[in-house]
């Protein structure tokens, strides 16, 4: 099952993923129109400074089994096996905050959403952009990422890649990880 793979070592902290995420989860899915909407669109991915010029895109890992699903008193968080996601149903969410208490990655946001107009706020997090998926497009954050810090692919492939790199370190001094492109290196020099 494809998922969003995060490579923090490539992230430059440009926040374009946040902008794309917020726009994708607006009613119009258009940046300019979204600014005037009654529900201010909210990004479901956060980017934190990570020290040493690194930044860290933090989003829902779609755990299976998911701690948030186990604690949800409203039955609003369910596993979607067909999409490989752990989804929140805004129509059922009662904004109790239990999921934030359980999530070991700190990815939940609470805000109003047009999907549940009668509520003051509901729990929001990454949903792997179902509307885009239906059109065969990758999630908005992946499309927006210019440095390959967010890619959409099979986690097994990413794991195998990392495992091969680690395995080599048993026999030799660790080779450098995949080279960071010159553009990223230069950008960091600016900072």
């Amino acid at each position: 099952m494809k998922t969003v793979i995060v490579r923090p070592e490539r992230c430059v902290g440009c926040l374009q993923c946040r902008l794309a995420c917020a726009v994708e989860h607006s009613q119009s899915k258009d940046l300019v129109a979204a600014l005037g909407e009654a529900w201010r669109p909210v990004a479901r991915i956060a980017v934190y400074p990570g020290g040493r010029h690194l930044s860290f895109p933090n989003k829902c890992r779609h755990c299976d089994p998911a701690p948030c699903e186990a604690v949800c008193i409203a039955g609003a968080i369910r596993r979607n096996p067909a999409r490989g996601t752990t989804d929140i149903d805004p129509a059922r969410c009662i904004n109790c905050g239990m999921c934030a208490m359980a999530c070991p990655f700190g990815v939940l946001t609470f805000a109003p959403t047009p999907q549940a107009p009668e509520r003051r706020a509901v729990a929001l997090k990454c949903d792997h952009c179902p509307d885009r998926q239906a059109q065969g497009r990758p999630p908005a954050c992946v499309e927006a990422c210019k440095v390959g810090a967010l890619t959409y692919g099979e986690p097994a492939h990413a794991l195998a890649e990392k495992a091969r790199w680690l395995a080599r370190t048993f026999f030799a001094a660790p080779p450098p990880p995949e080279p960071v492109p010159e553009t990223i290196r230069l950008w960091r020099h600016l900072g």
């Binding site: 980017v47 020290g51 860290f56 186990a70 039955g75 009662i94 934030a100 700190g106 946001t109 960091r188």
Partner: protein
């Protein structure tokens, strides 16, 4: 193998579903004294506040029992368990044999020993039928008194105020949630309570419910005052439902004692949820704490162990999320350190009302309270549960830089 599960709420269902996954062919019978489909008890407050609907209470589909292959005996209370004969006796006179039994009978609301409890207009809120009774009474009520300012009482007061009723909330101590909240968080909570228009009475408890013509008219308080009211809702805690174990040696008044496998004194009987007395995750001491997520976690362990999995239950870490309109608090673990070397860190942002309070003991985080901004609560609780030494963390939890970036973004060796 014939499995019987008493109780169809959080722990009973989690147990039954885990058991079914491990024992696809087993005969599993669920017993409940309620005849509804399984529903979420914590949601009853939200139903009362009209923040959810009756149909959204039900967590499973109408075909649930059939889909999972569970036999059910709904609306049939259990009167006695006979561990010698391995039988569960039901109120209708039947005796149900079992090979392995899971007791997930839950808890019942406590009531204080005061006169006037038989009056019309005295309520507790635990079952769906309680909400229906309360709803009928509220049609002619204007003032409601909520006795007990714990998590349930606070949410009930919020729900009733949301419906436009005049609400008096009685707290026995000098602050609400006195067992789990520090003074600063309690002050922020009390400010939120005042903003909701709820009248909070501190150091107050009722000495009698006063009535006229069989109906509640007032509450007599400890300080001699008489508080006029049309209804009284008691939320002064719960007691485990273990009456049907009176003829056995399985139960204690504080709950059913269990070992780390949630096994009772009888090797074929397991127990989970609000009816048990589990161990505290950090101290190992018996700790009764009634919360839905813990009941689910215990149900999963007990269900697996019914099938012989020998899974361990690590213990309960008390924690809760208090979400009122305009105020969110997540708190858990220890309120104060156990040893004199312990330390408390507090950081209040007076302009935003955000507050962070951490309790450290013996080099480890043992308690956390977050008010306002709670999105990283689960990270703190994971550190508490894992007993991670603070010195092993890439960033100190007291630091403003304690966030996912500093915790998890670490350059690979050799990277620029």
């Amino acid at each position: 193998m014939r499995y019987v599960i008493i109780g169809t709420s959080a722990a009973g269902l989690a147990g039954a579903e885990t058991l079914r996954r491990l024992a696809p062919q087993a005969r599993i019978t669920l017993i409940s004294d309620e005849s509804h489909l399984p529903y979420s008890r914590p949601l009853l407050m939200y139903l009362l506040g009209r923040e959810t609907t009756r149909e959204k209470l039900f967590l499973r589909s109408p075909d649930y029992f059939r889909e999972w292959g569970f036999e059910t005996l709904l609306g049939t209370p259990v009167t006695r368990v006979d561990p010698g004969a391995r039988e569960v006796h039901l109120a209708d006179g039947r005796a149900l044999p079992y090979d392995r039994l899971l007791i997930a009978s839950g808890a019942k609301p406590r009531l204080p020993p005061i006169p006037g409890l038989e009056l019309s207009g005295v309520f507790t809120l635990r079952h769906l039928a309680d909400v229906e009774r309360l709803e009928r009474h509220l049609a002619q009520a204007r003032r409601v008194a909520v006795v007990g300012a714990g998590a349930v009482g606070l949410k009930a007061a919020d729900a009733l105020a949301h419906r436009g009723l005049a609400v008096d909330l009685l707290a026995r101590g000098a602050q609400p949630l006195s067992k789990v909240l520090d003074q600063v968080s309690a002050r922020l909570l009390m400010e939120a309570i005042a903003r909701l228009g709820i009248s909070l009475h501190l150091n107050s408890w009722p000495t009698a419910v006063v009535g006229n013509g069989g109906r509640v008219t007032a509450l007599a308080l400890n300080d001699g005052r008489e508080l006029p009211t049309d209804a009284v809702l008691f939320s002064v805690g719960v007691a485990p439902r273990v009456e049907f174990l009176a003829s056995t040696t399985l139960a204690a008044p504080e709950g059913i004692p269990v070992d780390e496998h949630l096994q009772t004194g009888d090797p074929d009987i397991f127990a989970a949820g609000d009816c048990v007395l589990p161990r505290h995750l950090l101290t190992g001491a018996p700790a009764a704490f009634h919360i839905w997520p813990a009941a689910v976690a215990q149900g999963e362990v007990a269900g697996a162990n019914l099938a012989g999995a020998a899974r361990r239950y690590d213990g309960i870490l008390p924690m809760n999320s208090i979400s009122l309109r305009g105020c969110r608090i997540i708190t858990g673990g220890h309120l104060t350190p156990d040893t004199p070397e312990g330390e408390i860190f507090e950081e209040l942002d007076a302009t935003t009302g955000r507050f962070k309070r951490l309790v450290f003991d013996q080099g480890r985080l043992v308690g956390a309270t977050l008010v306002g901004e709670v999105r990283h609560a689960g990270i703190y609780f994971r550190l508490i549960a894992n007993r991670t030494p603070v010195k092993d963390l890439p960033v100190d939890p007291r630091s403003p830089h304690f966030h996912p970036g500093r915790l998890w973004a670490r350059p690979l060796p050799g990277a620029a």
